[in-house]
């Protein structure tokens, strides 16, 4: 019998945003007409967000074709030619074309092993791909100490940004006195531009549950919480579904596998506070209070949720665990550098050709990540810098991007590994503006507990606003440096301690841009609106819409002739620039 072809539509958040559900429905409509020809399945994120909607066709004999940029209109041709006649439509293929294949060449997929391959709603598919074998191995043949030893041997460090050795954290929680212990999965991914955890939760929720189960067994916990952002409804939905399935399979609940191990997982939806990514704030939030960090020690390992010993790891950390148990810590440690083992997932965004999710071994250079894996800079721009670690991170200029991805090496540049958000910047990105953007984020998200973080970030933001408006002074740069040092040393948690990083690193590597804003009143990247000069070029058709929209009447001209802007009257509101349909308004 000819095996049935299967159609797999990527329905992570990025796929849905790009219209994945409409594509899925279009296939459904076609299926009603050819019910024998194929079956439709949902899958998660394969990482190629830049080619969404992605549709994979598998022939049931191990061959597959991946189509990118699929629209509902393209579905009928895919069905007619590929599914019914067996001909591939080469111009729409992603995987067939060699130029895209190198997207995967340098990747090593441990965390993302199942992402985009299995149906995240199917526990059977997870089990068929080796899932829940690690928890079986742990319960049947390993002591908690052996589990911790294996994780220690892997060299795995916390992937949420802290970088603390995971095995050591488990050891402390295991050693802590007390019987009621908790495992918490930190899924409060709040860095703007970071979506690693969301993709893992949406595409392979069982891998996270299995990691939590193993951690619970290792430290002796019988209750777990997943603290997930409420802004990730799809991830929460998939997690709830996965937890119910794990219960049905007897993998959660009482006396699991008859080994006397009990474990329950609850989901707590965060309510929108960036600071709740900090572990003591996260615990306060689960307990129903304002999510404000507290002084450590005592560390959560000794006194965490409800005052009990608690182990908190991030989503990506947990997603590594089952692989480590099955393949051994040594296999994991074989990847990477002496200081940083294994792989790291990055969410690539900004001015890079291939935006999306990648997983590369530690030790790869940043340049190789940007150019070899992600295809270089979009629109053939000039590579200027990357920003790693989100608002707590720092920027690394292009000429330092030959350093390997490694906790220590990155720290030396003033940036941090962070949780994996990586923003690529080109010559059209203003570094002062980027620093201001991140600082306005941390300023807004400061919980207000520490004076330096609460007021210091506000003062820094005011200075940056002045500079981008052309009202900065030389003294401002010294004040920024001084405030940065004070905020870093006088803040309780990572938010305040790292908030000045984007400013510190941009000042260190791109001081001349700050100086251009201050001395010449110019924004070299043409971003900071108050410093721009607007003019109208020959593309102007004289339609008059800019003149009508200008609030100060600075634009004049006869109908159907090129208009002119009077710069004395112009208040640089950019309305003419946004309203023009002919790209005739230019700024410099």
């Amino acid at each position: 019998m000819k095996s049935m072809k299967t159609v797999h539509v990527g329905l992570g958040t990025c796929g849905i945003s790009a219209g994945g559900e409409r594509v899925y429905q279009a296939f459904q409509t076609e299926l009603n007409q050819h019910p024998e020809a194929f079956s439709i399945h949902e899958t998660g994120c394969i990482g190629m967000c830049y080619r969404e909607v992605l549709v994979e066709i598998r022939d049931g004999a191990g061959n597959s074709r991946l189509y990118g940029d699929v629209t509902p209109e393209r579905v009928s041709r895919i069905v007619a030619e590929d599914l019914l006649e067996g001909r591939s439509i080469d111009e729409w293929l992603v995987s067939g074309a060699r130029k895209e294949a190198d997207f995967f060449d340098k990747q090593v997929r441990i965390v993302l092993r199942n992402c985009g391959k299995i149906d995240p709603g199917s526990v059977e598919e997870y089990i068929a791909s080796g899932g829940y074998q690690a928890i079986a191995k742990v319960l049947d043949r390993m002591t908690p100490e052996e589990v911790i030893q294996e994780v220690l041997a892997s060299g795995l460090r916390g992937r949420g940004g802290g970088g603390f050795p995971t095995g050591a954290k488990w050891k402390f929680a295991r050693a802590a006195a007390g019987t009621d212990k908790y495992v918490i999965c930190n899924a409060d991914e709040g860095d703007p531009g970071a979506f690693m955890d969301r993709s893992v939760l949406e595409s392979d929720p069982h891998a996270v549950l299995e990691g939590m189960m193993i951690a619970a067994y290792a430290i002796g916990a019988d209750e777990g919480y997943i603290y997930c952002r409420a802004e990730y409804p799809k991830a929460i939905m998939r997690l709830r579904h996965a937890i119910a399935q794990a219960h049905a399979e007897g993998l959660l609940g009482g006396n699991i596998r008859g080994k006397g191990f009990n474990f329950e997982i609850h989901i707590k939806e965060g309510a929108g506070a960036f600071v709740c990514g900090e572990e003591t704030a996260l615990i306060a939030s689960i307990e129903g209070r304002r999510g404000m960090p507290r002084f450590r020690p005592p560390f959560p390992a000794n006194s965490g949720l409800w005052g009990k010993p608690t182990n908190i790891n991030n989503v990506e950390t947990f997603a590594n665990i089952a692989w480590i148990i099955l393949n051994g810590g040594a296999a994991f440690a074989a990847y990477g550098t002496p200081d940083s083992k294994g792989t790291k997932v990055f969410a690539m965004a900004g001015k890079v050709r291939r935006t999306g999710l990648v997983e590369v071994p530690m030790g790869l250079t940043i340049r190789s990540l940007v150019f070899d894996v992600c295809g270089g800079i979009a629109n053939d721009g000039d590579f200027k810098a990357v920003l790693m670690g989100g608002p707590a991170g720092g920027c690394i200029p292009a000429d330092l991007c030959d350093i390997p991805i490694d906790y220590q090496q990155l720290n030396k540049t003033g940036a941090i590994m962070g949780s994996g958000g990586l923003i690529v910047m080109d010559e059209t990105t203003c570094m002062v503006d980027v620093a201001k953007f991140f600082l306005s984020f941390t300023q807004e998200e400061s919980c207000g507990k520490c004076t330096f973080c609460r007021i210091g970030t506000k003062r820094m933001l005011e200075i940056l606003e002045r500079i981008t408006e052309g009202k900065g002074t030389e003294e401002d740069l010294d004040n920024l440096t001084e405030l940065s040092a004070q905020i870093k040393s006088a803040s309780l948690c990572g938010l305040g301690q790292n908030a000045p990083n984007p400013v510190v690193t941009t000042l260190q590597y791109f001081r001349q841009e700050y100086e251009a804003h201050i001395r010449e009143k110019k924004c070299p990247a043409h971003v900071c609106a108050p410093l721009l000069v607007y003019s109208i070029n020959d593309l102007c058709t004289g339609c008059g819409s800019c003149a009508r929209t200008c609030p100060t009447g600075a634009i004049s001209g006869e109908r159907k002739t090129v208009h002119v802007i009077d710069n004395d009257k112009c208040i640089k509101c950019a309305k003419c620039f946004t309203v023009c349909r002919f790209e005739a308004v230019t700024k410099e």
């Binding site: 990025c14 945003s17 979506f195 409420a230 965004a349 989100g390």
Partner: protein, 168 residues
């Protein structure tokens, strides 16, 4: 405890409170209230205070701490501008100025006729489509000013048409 509740609060609270049984239920209760009413009315805070014994002032403190909770109702069409990093470097500011221009709204405001509300979100997570907005949960990506103006005018027209039908 249930008798303290006015009837409209019964649907959202009871099972949640039973489910957890300790203080940790406050945030889920507030989330449930917001889901029911679209915002957190003062009455909801009073009711939750009655049920849980947590002082209303503390509950108000929690409500105002988290970005998710609103103390004012939203308009019928909710526009969210993504201000994630990718959208920022790809022109979210321009998107904002277009919306300001078309609807006369700044962040966290609702138009006087209650038709549009404008909110900012830190990241919608579809960075490859930047710059992005959502209107009533539907995503509009790779926006340019003309494209956005057209989208907004379409929604305005629809809102007007709906109003006219309602008037009839």
């Amino acid at each position: 405890m249930t008798e303290h509740l006015s009837p409209e609060f019964k649907p959202f609270k009871v099972d949640l409170w039973k489910y957890d049984g300790h203080a940790g239920a406050l945030i889920p209760l507030l989330q449930s209230a917001q889901e029911t009413f679209g915002y957190i009315p003062e009455k909801a805070i009073e009711s939750i205070s009655h049920v849980t014994g947590i002082p209303a002032a503390d509950i108000y403190g929690v409500v105002t701490f988290y970005a998710q909770f609103r103390t004012k109702p939203l308009g019928r069409n909710v526009i969210r501008i993504c201000n994630g990093t990718a959208c920022h470097v790809n022109g979210a500011k321009e998107i904002y100025s277009v919306i300001q221009d078309e609807l006369g709204l700044t962040y966290d405001e609702t138009t006087d006729d209650g038709v549009f509300s404008l909110l900012s979100v830190a990241c919608l997570g579809c960075c490859s489509l930047a710059p992005v907005i959502t209107v009533n949960g539907e995503t509009f990506g790779r926006l340019t000013s003309p494209k956005l103006r057209k989208i907004l005018r379409d929604f305005k027209r629809k809102a007007q048409a709906a109003e006219e039908t309602a008037a009839k």
